[in-house]
């Protein structure tokens, strides 16, 4: 016990040992704060993805502060370090232009918030659900379960379509009927199918748009509104029911028609393709 007391007294009398002790204490406290404080940071009304970023920033700041203070306690000249860091920064800056661009783009994306985690987006030919919005990139899960990493710089420079930003969306269906059909009757039938479908919104009203006289058919578009959850269901069920209604009412959906003439002044003649030899 006396020996231990003597050793401690000798250590405390030694300036280097004292500094080392203080540095270790600072390091221990700093490490503890770095581990526990970021998790407890909470801002009301901030989205989870932004909160995650804020906590990361707090963690890095605490770590850097702890590191610098520890070095200072150990007697390192921070001026020299800062000088070296300045030179290193220039070198790294040239090498890390892309990283810096992605980082800054990420900040702009967070501020602008064109989409959030869970939204379905289209960007650069990739469509899928946003898994995370990170500092350098956005992770997207495609509909066939592939993970695509899109750099934030690309997101900022490209057209991004957010399919789930608004609660409802329109389903457009292109159709064609034979020239012999009555357009008014076709319109009445398809709109009745839309009215009878409870997941087609009554308002905004379904639209019947006549697109023109096609090469082989009268072309039109039926547009109905529905919620995102029912989008695929509507797209399938509407086509199925319209086909059934057309069949029940004798409405023909034509094949492409072509007229063939043997001579420049000849009458067109009927051609029928039969199977066999």
């Amino acid at each position: 016990m006396e020996d231990l007391k003597t050793i401690l007294e000798q250590l405390m009398a030694n300036p280097m040992a004292t500094r080392l002790g203080r540095a270790l204490v600072i390091l221990a406290i700093g490490a503890t704060l770095t581990l526990f404080i970021p998790g407890r940071v909470s801002l009301v009304g901030v989205q989870p993805q932004r909160m995650f970023f804020v906590r990361k920033v707090v963690r890095y700041l605490l770590a850097v502060f702890t590191f610098v203070w520890t070095l200072r306690e150990l007697g390192f000249d921070l001026g020299v370090l800062l000088g070296a860091a300045g030179v290193l920064t220039v070198a790294i800056g040239f090498a890390a232009q892309t990283v810096a661009s992605n980082l800054i783009s990420g900040l702009f994306l967070m501020g602008e918030h064109p989409f959030g985690v869970g939204d379905i987006i289209d960007v650069g030919g990739v469509a899928g659900e946003v898994l995370s919005i990170d500092a350098l990139s956005v992770k997207i899960r495609t509909f066939d379960n592939l993970m695509v990493r899109v750099p934030n710089e690309t997101m900022l420079k490209s057209n991004v379509t957010n399919r789930t930003r608004f609660p409802i969306r329109r389903v457009d269906m292109q159709m064609g009927v034979a020239y012999k059909e009555d357009i008014a009757k076709v319109r009445e039938l398809v709109l009745a199918v839309a009215d009878a479908n409870p997941i087609c919104l009554e308002e905004p009203r379904p639209l019947f748009i006549f697109n023109g006289y096609g090469g082989s058919s009268l072309d039109f578009q039926l547009s109905v509104w529905t919620t995102h959850a029912n989008f695929l269901d509507v797209r399938y069920t509407m086509h199925e029911r319209i086909k059934r209604v057309f069949d029940e009412n004798g409405i023909e959906i034509p094949f492409p028609h072509r007229s063939i003439a043997m001579a420049s002044s000849g009458e067109p003649f009927e051609v029928r393709v039969t199977s066999g030899d």
């Binding site: 608004f166 609660p167 409802i168 009215d195 409870p198 919104l201 009554e202 308002e203 509104w225 029912n230």
Partner: protein, 262 residues
């Protein structure tokens, strides 16, 4: 109108059927398991029937079949009506105009849900669905800003005696007060049905709390105010409150959108 709701006993191993309008609800009790399934049948709107119990039914032929396991083997089951779980947007068949300074009470219908409760408590239904699935619709100033609702057509009847018998619809007496100096043309109204209580009259008709749409001077908005208590039409008739509001009413006053009432 015959009452289709209420508490009953269904013994173990038995099947029952309740018919309301175009919907048949089939229920089967097997120990702690309850099975329910539904079927749409073409028949008159006012139809109400019960087969309690009835012959066993092939549930694979029914729609929306569901099985549930409960804590006890008790055969106590309650069938209750409930109002819609979203606001209902009603549109008059024809343009309906309320001149300045005029107050009009119109009767509008909204769809009714069927709820199944097993056991003595009736707080959380085992199963619920609309008797006639109403169409979805959007209500709001733009397609990006608004709310998903159900759609209902109304004749905006002024005469209560002319109301059709439909056991799957609840009637709301809506008083429209135009306190402004311009005519109020009603194209559609959003009834905040989840905030209303449901009552029944002696004849088995379903009524909600009364509601008031009030348009004041100098505003395009019309406010929706549920009237506390049973509907006036049931005054003195000892009305029975069948179900309470789905949503807690913290503010009785809700603004409708000006572009929809002018």
């Amino acid at each position: 109108m015959t009452v289709w709701w209420g508490a009953a006993e269904l013994a173990d191993g038995k099947t029952a059927r309740v018919g309301i309008g175009p919907l048949d609800c089939w229920i089967e009790h097997r120990g702690r398991e309850w099975r329910s399934g539904f079927e749409t049948v073409e028949r008159e709107d006012a139809h109400v029937s019960r087969d309690w119990p009835t012959d066993a039914r092939d549930f694979s032929a029914l729609d929306l079949v569901s099985r549930a396991v409960v804590a006890t083997t008790s055969g106590e089951i309650t069938i209750k009506p409930a109002l819609a779980d979203r606001p209902v947007v009603t549109r008059p068949d024809h343009e309906f105009v309320v001149p300045p300074g005029v107050e009009a009470t119109i009767y509008v219908g909204s769809p009714v849900w069927l709820q199944l409760f097993v056991g003595p408590t009736t707080t959380l239904p085992l199963r619920e669905l609309p008797i006639v699935r109403p169409s979805d619709t959007w209500f709001g100033p733009t397609i990006g800003d608004g709310e998903l609702c159900y759609a209902a057509r109304t004749s905006c009847r002024l005469d209560r005696a002319a109301l059709p018998d439909r056991p799957y619809r609840a009637t709301t007496a809506v008083t429209v007060r135009n306190n402004s100096d311009t005519s109020l043309t009603i194209e559609r109204m959003k009834l905040l049905v989840p905030r209303l209580s449901l009552y029944t009259s002696a004849d088995g008709r379903l009524w909600t709390q009364d509601a008031v749409f009030r348009r004041d001077q100098g505003t395009d908005f019309a406010s929706f105010e549920p009237t506390p208590g049973p509907p006036a039409v049931l005054a003195g008739a000892a009305p029975t409150e069948i179900s309470t509001p789905r949503e807690d009413v913290t503010h009785a006053l809700v603004r409708a959108f000006g572009s929809l009432l002018r």
